[in-house]
Protein backbone atom coordinates (compact mmCIF):
# COMPACT_ATOMS: atom_id res chain seq x y z
CA UNK A 1 0.00 0.00 0.00
CA UNK A 2 1.36 3.41 -0.87
CA UNK A 3 1.93 5.93 1.91
CA UNK A 4 -0.91 8.09 0.62
CA UNK A 5 -3.30 5.15 0.65
CA UNK A 6 -2.12 4.19 4.11
CA UNK A 7 -2.75 7.74 5.32
CA UNK A 8 -6.17 7.97 3.77
CA UNK A 9 -7.36 4.51 4.73
CA UNK A 10 -11.04 3.60 4.89
CA UNK A 11 -11.45 4.09 8.63
CA UNK A 12 -10.10 7.64 8.42
CA UNK A 13 -12.18 8.54 5.37
CA UNK A 14 -15.23 7.12 7.07
CA UNK A 15 -14.70 9.21 10.23
CA UNK A 16 -14.16 12.26 8.00
CA UNK A 17 -17.44 11.65 6.21
CA UNK A 18 -19.47 10.83 9.30
CA UNK A 19 -17.68 12.23 12.32
CA UNK A 20 -18.73 10.81 15.69
CA UNK A 21 -19.84 13.09 18.52
CA UNK A 22 -20.06 15.99 16.08
CA UNK A 23 -22.24 18.11 18.33
CA UNK A 24 -22.15 20.92 20.79
CA UNK A 25 -22.68 19.82 24.42
CA UNK A 26 -25.21 22.15 26.01
CA UNK A 27 -24.34 21.01 29.53
CA UNK A 28 -20.57 20.95 29.12
CA UNK A 29 -18.38 21.44 32.16
CA UNK A 30 -15.21 22.07 30.15
CA UNK A 31 -14.53 23.38 26.66
CA UNK A 32 -11.77 24.91 24.52
CA UNK A 33 -11.06 26.23 21.06
CA UNK A 34 -8.32 24.82 18.82
CA UNK A 35 -6.92 26.60 15.81
CA UNK A 36 -4.20 25.98 13.26
CA UNK A 37 -3.43 29.40 11.80
CA UNK A 38 -1.30 27.90 9.05
CA UNK A 39 -4.13 26.05 7.38
CA UNK A 40 -7.25 27.41 9.07
CA UNK A 41 -8.32 24.16 10.77
CA UNK A 42 -10.64 25.23 13.56
CA UNK A 43 -12.43 23.07 16.15
CA UNK A 44 -14.24 23.51 19.41
CA UNK A 45 -14.29 20.67 21.93
CA UNK A 46 -16.81 20.30 24.76
CA UNK A 47 -16.55 17.85 27.67
CA UNK A 48 -18.93 16.87 30.39
CA UNK A 49 -17.14 15.49 33.41
CA UNK A 50 -18.77 13.32 35.98
CA UNK A 51 -16.24 13.30 38.78
CA UNK A 52 -13.07 12.05 37.14
CA UNK A 53 -14.84 10.49 34.20
CA UNK A 54 -15.49 11.99 30.77
CA UNK A 55 -19.21 11.29 30.68
CA UNK A 56 -19.74 12.97 27.33
CA UNK A 57 -17.71 14.77 24.67
CA UNK A 58 -18.55 16.65 21.51
CA UNK A 59 -16.78 18.72 18.89
CA UNK A 60 -17.61 21.02 16.02
CA UNK A 61 -15.61 22.89 13.44
CA UNK A 62 -13.98 22.42 10.09
CA UNK A 63 -10.70 21.37 8.57
CA UNK A 64 -8.98 18.73 6.50
CA UNK A 65 -9.78 15.02 6.58
CA UNK A 66 -6.87 14.29 8.91
CA UNK A 67 -7.90 16.88 11.50
CA UNK A 68 -11.58 15.98 11.36
CA UNK A 69 -11.17 12.22 11.47
CA UNK A 70 -8.61 12.46 14.26
CA UNK A 71 -11.03 14.68 16.22
CA UNK A 72 -13.81 12.17 15.67
CA UNK A 73 -11.62 9.24 16.70
CA UNK A 74 -10.34 11.16 19.71
CA UNK A 75 -13.89 11.73 20.99
CA UNK A 76 -14.75 8.04 20.54
CA UNK A 77 -11.57 7.00 22.32
CA UNK A 78 -11.86 9.17 25.41
CA UNK A 79 -15.62 8.99 25.96
CA UNK A 80 -16.13 7.10 29.20
CA UNK A 81 -12.47 7.25 30.11
CA UNK A 82 -11.07 8.91 33.21
CA UNK A 83 -9.06 12.10 32.87
CA UNK A 84 -5.94 10.13 33.70
CA UNK A 85 -6.68 7.54 30.99
CA UNK A 86 -7.41 10.25 28.43
CA UNK A 87 -4.10 11.94 29.16
CA UNK A 88 -2.24 8.65 28.87
CA UNK A 89 -3.92 8.01 25.51
CA UNK A 90 -2.90 11.48 24.35
CA UNK A 91 0.68 10.79 25.32
CA UNK A 92 0.82 7.40 23.63
CA UNK A 93 -0.91 8.65 20.48
CA UNK A 94 1.36 11.66 20.33
CA UNK A 95 4.51 9.58 20.69
CA UNK A 96 3.36 7.34 17.82
CA UNK A 97 2.56 10.11 15.33
CA UNK A 98 5.75 11.97 16.30
CA UNK A 99 7.99 8.94 15.74
CA UNK A 100 10.72 9.86 13.30
CA UNK A 101 10.36 8.52 9.77
CA UNK A 102 12.31 5.27 9.54
CA UNK A 103 12.21 4.55 13.28
CA UNK A 104 10.41 1.37 14.23
CA UNK A 105 7.20 1.65 16.26
CA UNK A 106 6.56 -1.51 18.32
CA UNK A 107 3.57 -3.36 16.91
CA UNK A 108 1.98 -3.70 20.37
CA UNK A 109 2.15 0.05 20.90
CA UNK A 110 0.07 0.70 17.79
CA UNK A 111 -2.26 -2.15 18.72
CA UNK A 112 -2.78 -0.72 22.18
CA UNK A 113 -4.08 2.45 20.55
CA UNK A 114 -6.96 0.50 19.06
CA UNK A 115 -8.54 2.25 16.09
CA UNK A 116 -6.43 5.36 16.78
CA UNK A 117 -3.54 3.34 15.39
CA UNK A 118 -5.01 4.01 11.95
CA UNK A 119 -3.52 7.47 12.16
CA UNK A 120 0.03 6.19 12.71
CA UNK A 121 0.69 6.72 8.98
CA UNK A 122 0.58 10.47 9.45
CA UNK A 123 4.16 10.40 10.71
CA UNK A 124 5.26 9.92 7.11
CA UNK A 125 3.76 13.37 6.39
CA UNK A 126 5.50 15.83 8.73
CA UNK A 127 3.44 18.77 7.42
CA UNK A 128 0.26 17.02 8.55
CA UNK A 129 1.16 15.94 12.09
CA UNK A 130 -0.32 19.13 13.49
CA UNK A 131 -3.61 18.32 11.78
CA UNK A 132 -3.66 14.95 13.54
CA UNK A 133 -2.93 16.37 16.97
CA UNK A 134 -5.04 19.55 17.01
CA UNK A 135 -8.19 18.02 18.52
CA UNK A 136 -6.17 16.14 21.15
CA UNK A 137 -4.44 19.30 22.30
CA UNK A 138 -7.79 21.09 22.36
CA UNK A 139 -9.29 18.33 24.51
CA UNK A 140 -6.30 18.56 26.83
CA UNK A 141 -6.63 22.35 27.07
CA UNK A 142 -10.31 21.98 27.95
CA UNK A 143 -9.46 19.49 30.69
CA UNK A 144 -6.70 21.54 32.22
CA UNK A 145 -8.70 24.74 31.72
CA UNK A 146 -5.45 26.64 31.60
CA UNK A 147 -6.45 28.34 28.41
CA UNK A 148 -9.64 28.68 26.45
CA UNK A 149 -7.88 28.54 23.14
CA UNK A 150 -4.95 26.57 21.77
CA UNK A 151 -3.01 27.12 18.62
CA UNK A 152 -0.67 24.74 16.83
CA UNK A 153 1.77 27.63 16.50
CA UNK A 154 2.57 28.45 20.13
Amino acid sequence: MSEVNELYQQLILEHNKSPRNFKKLENATHDADGYNPLCGDHYHVWLKLDGDTIADIGFQGSGCAISKSSASMMTSAVKGATIQEAKEMLEKYHSVIMTKIGDEIPEEKIESLGSLGALAGVREFPARIKCASLAWHTMNAALTQKEKSVSTEN
Binding site: V4, L13, G40, C64, A65, R128
Partner: protein, 413 residues
Protein backbone atom coordinates in the same frame (compact mmCIF):
# COMPACT_ATOMS: atom_id res chain seq x y z
CA UNK B 1 3.97 36.29 -37.24
CA UNK B 2 3.55 32.60 -37.99
CA UNK B 3 3.17 30.08 -35.20
CA UNK B 4 6.48 28.58 -36.18
CA UNK B 5 8.32 31.86 -35.69
CA UNK B 6 6.72 32.29 -32.27
CA UNK B 7 7.91 28.86 -31.27
CA UNK B 8 11.41 29.80 -32.26
CA UNK B 9 11.12 32.96 -30.16
CA UNK B 10 9.90 31.13 -27.08
CA UNK B 11 10.88 27.53 -26.57
CA UNK B 12 9.92 26.12 -23.20
CA UNK B 13 12.35 23.19 -23.54
CA UNK B 14 15.25 25.60 -23.90
CA UNK B 15 14.02 27.70 -20.97
CA UNK B 16 13.70 24.63 -18.73
CA UNK B 17 17.34 23.73 -19.35
CA UNK B 18 18.33 26.95 -17.60
CA UNK B 19 16.72 25.79 -14.32
CA UNK B 20 18.69 22.93 -12.74
CA UNK B 21 16.07 22.29 -10.04
CA UNK B 22 13.49 21.31 -12.66
CA UNK B 23 15.34 18.05 -13.28
CA UNK B 24 14.71 16.88 -9.70
CA UNK B 25 12.64 13.87 -8.79
CA UNK B 26 10.35 14.01 -5.78
CA UNK B 27 9.17 10.72 -4.21
CA UNK B 28 10.48 9.03 -7.35
CA UNK B 29 8.38 11.20 -9.67
CA UNK B 30 9.58 14.08 -11.83
CA UNK B 31 9.07 17.38 -10.03
CA UNK B 32 6.07 19.34 -11.33
CA UNK B 33 6.55 22.74 -9.79
CA UNK B 34 3.30 24.71 -9.84
CA UNK B 35 3.89 27.00 -6.87
CA UNK B 36 5.39 29.95 -8.69
CA UNK B 37 3.19 32.54 -7.03
CA UNK B 38 4.89 31.57 -3.76
CA UNK B 39 8.37 31.69 -5.22
CA UNK B 40 10.02 31.04 -8.55
CA UNK B 41 12.97 28.79 -9.26
CA UNK B 42 16.37 30.23 -10.13
CA UNK B 43 18.15 29.94 -13.46
CA UNK B 44 21.79 28.86 -13.60
CA UNK B 45 22.92 32.40 -14.46
CA UNK B 46 21.55 33.71 -11.14
CA UNK B 47 23.26 30.89 -9.23
CA UNK B 48 26.52 31.58 -11.09
CA UNK B 49 26.25 35.31 -10.41
CA UNK B 50 25.84 34.68 -6.67
CA UNK B 51 28.82 32.33 -6.63
CA UNK B 52 30.91 34.79 -8.59
CA UNK B 53 30.00 37.59 -6.21
CA UNK B 54 31.04 35.63 -3.15
CA UNK B 55 34.17 34.16 -4.74
CA UNK B 56 35.48 37.18 -6.66
CA UNK B 57 33.70 40.38 -5.62
CA UNK B 58 32.57 40.17 -1.99
CA UNK B 59 33.07 43.43 -0.13
CA UNK B 60 31.04 46.12 1.58
CA UNK B 61 29.84 48.88 -0.67
CA UNK B 62 29.74 52.67 -0.93
CA UNK B 63 32.50 53.39 1.61
CA UNK B 64 35.54 51.33 0.85
CA UNK B 65 38.40 52.81 -1.17
CA UNK B 66 39.86 49.45 -2.07
CA UNK B 67 39.51 47.47 -5.26
CA UNK B 68 36.93 44.92 -4.13
CA UNK B 69 34.69 47.55 -2.59
CA UNK B 70 34.68 49.45 -5.84
CA UNK B 71 33.84 46.31 -7.81
CA UNK B 72 31.00 45.39 -5.43
CA UNK B 73 29.65 48.96 -5.42
CA UNK B 74 29.78 49.08 -9.21
CA UNK B 75 27.93 45.76 -9.57
CA UNK B 76 25.30 46.66 -6.96
CA UNK B 77 24.59 50.03 -8.52
CA UNK B 78 24.54 48.44 -11.97
CA UNK B 79 21.79 46.15 -10.64
CA UNK B 80 19.83 49.18 -9.48
CA UNK B 81 20.04 50.45 -13.05
CA UNK B 82 18.63 47.13 -14.27
CA UNK B 83 15.64 47.49 -11.95
CA UNK B 84 15.18 51.02 -13.26
CA UNK B 85 15.13 49.69 -16.82
CA UNK B 86 12.77 46.83 -15.95
CA UNK B 87 10.22 49.30 -14.57
CA UNK B 88 11.14 52.07 -17.02
CA UNK B 89 11.65 54.52 -14.18
CA UNK B 90 13.09 57.94 -15.00
CA UNK B 91 16.07 57.75 -12.69
CA UNK B 92 17.98 55.15 -10.66
CA UNK B 93 17.60 57.28 -7.54
CA UNK B 94 13.90 56.41 -7.62
CA UNK B 95 14.77 52.75 -7.05
CA UNK B 96 15.11 51.77 -3.39
CA UNK B 97 16.40 48.27 -2.69
CA UNK B 98 14.27 46.52 -0.06
CA UNK B 99 13.94 43.06 1.45
CA UNK B 100 10.91 42.47 -0.74
CA UNK B 101 7.34 43.54 -1.38
CA UNK B 102 6.31 43.49 2.28
CA UNK B 103 9.28 45.63 3.21
CA UNK B 104 8.48 48.10 0.42
CA UNK B 105 4.87 48.51 1.52
CA UNK B 106 5.93 48.95 5.14
CA UNK B 107 8.44 51.58 4.05
CA UNK B 108 5.76 53.61 2.28
CA UNK B 109 3.24 53.13 5.11
CA UNK B 110 5.86 54.42 7.53
CA UNK B 111 7.59 57.15 5.59
CA UNK B 112 4.68 58.48 3.56
CA UNK B 113 1.99 57.54 6.09
CA UNK B 114 3.54 59.30 9.05
CA UNK B 115 4.00 62.52 7.11
CA UNK B 116 0.79 62.61 5.07
CA UNK B 117 -1.93 60.69 6.91
CA UNK B 118 -3.70 62.20 9.89
CA UNK B 119 -6.80 61.72 12.03
CA UNK B 120 -9.93 61.49 9.91
CA UNK B 121 -8.04 60.61 6.71
CA UNK B 122 -8.70 57.49 4.70
CA UNK B 123 -6.57 54.79 3.11
CA UNK B 124 -8.09 52.67 0.34
CA UNK B 125 -7.03 49.10 -0.40
CA UNK B 126 -8.93 46.33 -2.21
CA UNK B 127 -10.81 43.19 -1.20
CA UNK B 128 -8.13 40.97 -2.77
CA UNK B 129 -5.02 42.26 -1.03
CA UNK B 130 -2.34 40.00 0.37
CA UNK B 131 -2.01 40.42 4.15
CA UNK B 132 1.16 42.42 3.44
CA UNK B 133 -0.95 45.14 1.81
CA UNK B 134 -3.55 45.10 4.60
CA UNK B 135 -1.72 44.91 7.92
CA UNK B 136 0.80 47.79 7.44
CA UNK B 137 -2.11 50.12 6.61
CA UNK B 138 -4.19 48.82 9.52
CA UNK B 139 -1.32 49.53 11.89
CA UNK B 140 -0.87 52.98 10.38
CA UNK B 141 -4.58 53.82 10.52
CA UNK B 142 -4.75 52.75 14.14
CA UNK B 143 -1.78 54.90 15.03
CA UNK B 144 -2.91 57.97 13.08
CA UNK B 145 -6.65 57.75 13.74
CA UNK B 146 -7.35 57.18 10.04
CA UNK B 147 -9.85 54.79 8.43
CA UNK B 148 -9.11 51.85 6.14
CA UNK B 149 -11.58 51.39 3.29
CA UNK B 150 -11.84 48.40 1.00
CA UNK B 151 -12.79 48.30 -2.71
CA UNK B 152 -15.32 45.46 -3.04
CA UNK B 153 -15.24 42.73 -5.70
CA UNK B 154 -17.78 40.62 -7.54
CA UNK B 155 -18.20 36.82 -7.57
CA UNK B 156 -15.74 36.49 -10.45
CA UNK B 157 -13.06 38.20 -8.39
CA UNK B 158 -13.09 41.57 -10.20
CA UNK B 159 -12.90 44.89 -8.39
CA UNK B 160 -15.98 47.10 -8.57
CA UNK B 161 -14.58 50.30 -9.99
CA UNK B 162 -17.87 52.21 -9.57
CA UNK B 163 -17.73 51.43 -5.87
CA UNK B 164 -14.13 52.61 -5.76
CA UNK B 165 -14.97 55.87 -7.47
CA UNK B 166 -17.61 56.61 -4.86
CA UNK B 167 -15.11 56.02 -2.05
CA UNK B 168 -12.69 58.67 -3.26
CA UNK B 169 -12.91 61.95 -1.38
CA UNK B 170 -10.63 64.72 -0.11
CA UNK B 171 -10.05 62.43 2.89
CA UNK B 172 -8.39 59.76 0.70
CA UNK B 173 -4.64 60.08 1.26
CA UNK B 174 -3.36 56.96 -0.48
CA UNK B 175 -4.70 54.11 -2.60
CA UNK B 176 -2.73 50.86 -2.35
CA UNK B 177 -3.80 48.00 -4.61
CA UNK B 178 -2.47 44.77 -5.97
CA UNK B 179 -1.75 44.50 -9.72
CA UNK B 180 -2.28 40.72 -9.93
CA UNK B 181 -4.07 38.83 -7.15
CA UNK B 182 -1.97 35.98 -5.75
CA UNK B 183 -4.99 33.89 -4.78
CA UNK B 184 -7.39 34.63 -7.67
CA UNK B 185 -5.10 35.57 -10.54
CA UNK B 186 -7.15 38.67 -11.37
CA UNK B 187 -5.29 41.39 -13.25
CA UNK B 188 -6.71 44.61 -11.86
CA UNK B 189 -7.40 47.68 -14.01
CA UNK B 190 -4.70 49.67 -12.27
CA UNK B 191 -4.42 52.24 -15.05
CA UNK B 192 -8.02 53.22 -14.41
CA UNK B 193 -7.53 53.14 -10.63
CA UNK B 194 -4.50 55.43 -10.94
CA UNK B 195 -6.36 57.86 -13.23
CA UNK B 196 -9.32 58.11 -10.87
CA UNK B 197 -7.06 58.49 -7.83
CA UNK B 198 -4.98 61.19 -9.46
CA UNK B 199 -8.12 63.08 -10.50
CA UNK B 200 -8.83 63.07 -6.77
CA UNK B 201 -5.29 64.23 -5.97
CA UNK B 202 -4.39 60.91 -4.33
CA UNK B 203 -1.15 58.96 -4.87
CA UNK B 204 -1.24 55.23 -5.67
CA UNK B 205 0.95 52.32 -4.61
CA UNK B 206 0.91 49.24 -6.82
CA UNK B 207 1.82 45.86 -5.32
CA UNK B 208 3.56 44.22 -8.24
CA UNK B 209 4.70 41.03 -6.49
CA UNK B 210 2.64 38.79 -8.77
CA UNK B 211 2.89 40.83 -11.97
CA UNK B 212 6.60 41.44 -12.28
CA UNK B 213 7.61 38.06 -13.73
CA UNK B 214 4.60 37.81 -16.00
CA UNK B 215 4.06 41.12 -17.79
CA UNK B 216 5.82 44.29 -18.78
CA UNK B 217 5.42 47.23 -16.49
CA UNK B 218 6.12 50.86 -17.27
CA UNK B 219 5.78 52.99 -14.16
CA UNK B 220 5.88 56.21 -16.16
CA UNK B 221 3.19 55.12 -18.56
CA UNK B 222 1.05 53.87 -15.64
CA UNK B 223 1.96 57.04 -13.76
CA UNK B 224 1.84 55.16 -10.43
CA UNK B 225 3.47 56.89 -7.49
CA UNK B 226 4.92 53.77 -5.91
CA UNK B 227 5.54 50.25 -7.26
CA UNK B 228 6.88 47.39 -5.15
CA UNK B 229 8.01 43.86 -5.97
CA UNK B 230 10.12 40.96 -4.67
CA UNK B 231 13.19 39.58 -6.41
CA UNK B 232 12.40 35.95 -5.60
CA UNK B 233 9.16 36.08 -7.62
CA UNK B 234 11.13 37.00 -10.75
CA UNK B 235 13.73 34.20 -10.62
CA UNK B 236 16.04 36.17 -8.31
CA UNK B 237 17.20 35.48 -4.75
CA UNK B 238 15.03 35.82 -1.64
CA UNK B 239 15.55 38.75 0.71
CA UNK B 240 15.83 41.35 -2.03
CA UNK B 241 13.22 43.48 -3.74
CA UNK B 242 12.68 47.02 -4.84
CA UNK B 243 10.46 50.00 -4.30
CA UNK B 244 10.00 52.49 -7.08
CA UNK B 245 8.81 55.89 -5.89
CA UNK B 246 8.44 59.13 -7.75
CA UNK B 247 11.28 61.31 -6.53
CA UNK B 248 8.87 64.14 -5.67
CA UNK B 249 7.32 61.83 -3.04
CA UNK B 250 10.53 60.18 -1.88
CA UNK B 251 12.14 63.59 -1.29
CA UNK B 252 9.29 64.60 1.01
CA UNK B 253 9.19 61.35 2.98
CA UNK B 254 10.93 60.73 6.28
CA UNK B 255 13.52 57.91 6.49
CA UNK B 256 12.28 54.40 7.28
CA UNK B 257 15.20 53.13 9.34
CA UNK B 258 18.18 54.97 10.77
CA UNK B 259 21.74 53.72 10.48
CA UNK B 260 24.80 53.68 8.31
CA UNK B 261 24.71 54.62 4.62
CA UNK B 262 21.49 56.64 4.95
CA UNK B 263 23.20 59.65 6.55
CA UNK B 264 25.16 62.60 5.27
CA UNK B 265 26.54 63.67 8.63
CA UNK B 266 25.90 62.65 12.19
CA UNK B 267 26.54 64.53 15.41
CA UNK B 268 24.89 63.79 18.72
CA UNK B 269 22.76 66.87 18.20
CA UNK B 270 21.63 66.44 14.61
CA UNK B 271 21.78 64.07 11.68
CA UNK B 272 21.35 65.11 8.07
CA UNK B 273 20.26 62.47 5.64
CA UNK B 274 21.82 61.16 2.50
CA UNK B 275 20.36 61.74 -0.97
CA UNK B 276 18.00 59.36 -2.70
CA UNK B 277 17.98 56.43 -2.88
CA UNK B 278 20.39 55.97 0.06
CA UNK B 279 18.16 57.88 2.49
CA UNK B 280 15.98 54.76 2.58
CA UNK B 281 18.75 52.16 2.67
CA UNK B 282 20.11 52.01 6.20
CA UNK B 283 22.79 49.45 6.99
CA UNK B 284 24.69 47.02 4.80
CA UNK B 285 22.18 45.86 2.23
CA UNK B 286 21.71 42.47 0.62
CA UNK B 287 24.52 43.11 -1.85
CA UNK B 288 24.64 39.62 -3.33
CA UNK B 289 20.85 39.61 -3.56
CA UNK B 290 20.79 42.89 -5.45
CA UNK B 291 23.41 41.70 -7.92
CA UNK B 292 21.61 38.35 -8.26
CA UNK B 293 18.35 40.18 -8.96
CA UNK B 294 20.14 42.14 -11.66
CA UNK B 295 21.16 38.85 -13.31
CA UNK B 296 17.57 37.58 -13.08
CA UNK B 297 16.27 40.74 -14.74
CA UNK B 298 18.80 40.39 -17.57
CA UNK B 299 17.69 36.80 -18.02
CA UNK B 300 13.98 37.64 -18.14
CA UNK B 301 14.51 40.54 -20.51
CA UNK B 302 16.53 38.37 -22.85
CA UNK B 303 13.56 36.02 -23.15
CA UNK B 304 11.18 38.98 -23.29
CA UNK B 305 8.22 39.67 -21.04
CA UNK B 306 5.86 39.90 -24.00
CA UNK B 307 6.81 36.41 -25.16
CA UNK B 308 6.50 35.15 -21.59
CA UNK B 309 3.05 36.69 -21.18
CA UNK B 310 1.85 35.20 -24.42
CA UNK B 311 3.11 31.73 -23.57
CA UNK B 312 1.72 31.85 -20.04
CA UNK B 313 -1.64 32.98 -21.33
CA UNK B 314 -1.73 29.90 -23.53
CA UNK B 315 -0.93 27.78 -20.46
CA UNK B 316 -3.63 29.55 -18.47
CA UNK B 317 -6.25 28.89 -21.13
CA UNK B 318 -5.23 25.27 -21.44
CA UNK B 319 -5.16 24.84 -17.65
CA UNK B 320 -8.51 26.55 -17.15
CA UNK B 321 -10.21 24.45 -19.85
CA UNK B 322 -8.65 21.20 -18.66
CA UNK B 323 -9.35 21.74 -14.97
CA UNK B 324 -12.86 23.01 -15.60
CA UNK B 325 -13.71 19.75 -17.29
CA UNK B 326 -12.88 17.80 -14.11
CA UNK B 327 -16.11 16.80 -12.42
CA UNK B 328 -16.51 18.27 -8.94
CA UNK B 329 -13.75 20.83 -9.41
CA UNK B 330 -14.58 24.51 -9.09
CA UNK B 331 -12.21 27.31 -10.06
CA UNK B 332 -12.16 30.25 -7.64
CA UNK B 333 -11.36 33.47 -9.47
CA UNK B 334 -12.84 33.68 -12.94
CA UNK B 335 -12.06 37.27 -13.90
CA UNK B 336 -11.92 38.13 -17.59
CA UNK B 337 -8.38 39.43 -17.18
CA UNK B 338 -6.25 36.85 -15.46
CA UNK B 339 -2.62 35.93 -15.00
CA UNK B 340 -1.53 32.29 -14.84
CA UNK B 341 -2.89 31.52 -11.37
CA UNK B 342 -5.60 28.87 -11.01
CA UNK B 343 -7.16 28.50 -7.57
CA UNK B 344 -9.62 25.67 -7.14
CA UNK B 345 -11.57 23.52 -4.74
CA UNK B 346 -12.46 19.85 -5.16
CA UNK B 347 -15.80 18.54 -3.93
CA UNK B 348 -15.57 16.56 -0.66
CA UNK B 349 -11.81 17.04 -0.39
CA UNK B 350 -10.18 19.69 1.76
CA UNK B 351 -7.41 21.60 -0.06
CA UNK B 352 -4.79 20.30 2.39
CA UNK B 353 -5.66 16.74 1.60
CA UNK B 354 -5.52 17.62 -2.10
CA UNK B 355 -2.07 19.13 -1.56
CA UNK B 356 -0.75 16.08 0.30
CA UNK B 357 -1.95 13.63 -2.33
CA UNK B 358 -0.57 15.74 -5.19
CA UNK B 359 2.74 16.12 -3.34
CA UNK B 360 3.25 12.36 -3.44
CA UNK B 361 2.75 12.54 -7.19
CA UNK B 362 5.66 14.99 -7.35
CA UNK B 363 3.36 17.97 -7.83
CA UNK B 364 4.06 21.11 -5.80
CA UNK B 365 1.03 23.35 -5.38
CA UNK B 366 0.04 25.71 -2.60
CA UNK B 367 -2.93 25.04 -0.36
CA UNK B 368 -4.43 27.28 2.27
CA UNK B 369 -5.57 30.87 2.43
CA UNK B 370 -2.53 32.23 0.54
CA UNK B 371 -2.20 35.08 3.05
CA UNK B 372 -5.50 36.43 1.76
CA UNK B 373 -7.95 35.40 4.48
CA UNK B 374 -10.48 38.12 3.51
CA UNK B 375 -10.61 36.66 -0.01
CA UNK B 376 -11.46 33.23 1.44
CA UNK B 377 -14.15 34.83 3.61
CA UNK B 378 -15.55 36.64 0.55
CA UNK B 379 -15.95 33.31 -1.26
CA UNK B 380 -17.14 31.45 1.84
CA UNK B 381 -14.37 28.83 1.72
CA UNK B 382 -11.65 28.00 4.26
CA UNK B 383 -8.91 27.55 1.71
CA UNK B 384 -8.13 26.72 -1.90
CA UNK B 385 -5.63 24.65 -3.79
CA UNK B 386 -3.63 26.86 -6.12
CA UNK B 387 -1.63 26.02 -9.21
CA UNK B 388 0.44 29.02 -10.25
CA UNK B 389 2.23 28.70 -13.55
CA UNK B 390 5.47 30.16 -14.77
CA UNK B 391 7.17 30.38 -18.15
CA UNK B 392 8.97 27.05 -17.58
CA UNK B 393 5.76 25.08 -17.03
CA UNK B 394 4.33 22.87 -19.78
CA UNK B 395 0.90 21.67 -20.82
CA UNK B 396 2.08 18.14 -20.01
CA UNK B 397 2.47 19.24 -16.39
CA UNK B 398 -1.13 20.41 -16.30
CA UNK B 399 -2.12 16.95 -17.55
CA UNK B 400 -0.13 15.42 -14.68
CA UNK B 401 -1.94 17.76 -12.28
CA UNK B 402 -5.30 16.61 -13.62
CA UNK B 403 -4.30 12.95 -13.20
CA UNK B 404 -3.31 13.78 -9.63
CA UNK B 405 -6.69 15.35 -8.99
CA UNK B 406 -8.35 12.21 -10.36
CA UNK B 407 -6.41 10.30 -7.69
CA UNK B 408 -7.76 12.70 -5.05
CA UNK B 409 -11.27 12.00 -6.31
CA UNK B 410 -10.65 8.24 -6.17
CA UNK B 411 -9.75 8.57 -2.50
CA UNK B 412 -12.42 11.04 -1.50
CA UNK B 413 -15.05 9.80 -3.95
Amino acid sequence: MSTLEKEILFDVTTVRKDFPILTLSVYGKPLVYLDNAATTQKPQIVLDTLTKYYTEQNSNIHRGVHFLSEVATFEYEKARGKVKNLLNAADSKEIIFTKGTTDGINLVAHSYGRTHINAGDEVIISAMEHHSNIVPWQLLCEERGATLRVIPMNDEGELLIDGFQKMLSPKTKIVSVVYVSNSLGTINPIKKIIELSHANGTPVLIDGAQSVAHMKVDVRELDCDFFVFSGHKIFGPTGIGALYGKSEWLEKMIPYQGGGDMIRSVTFEKTTFNDLPFKFEAGTPNIAGGIGLGAAIDYVQKIGLDAIREYEHELLEYGTDTLQSVNGLRIIGTAKEKASVISFVVENAHPHDVGTILDREGIAIRTGHHCTQPVMQRFGIPATARASLSMYNMKEEIDILVRGIEKVKEIFG
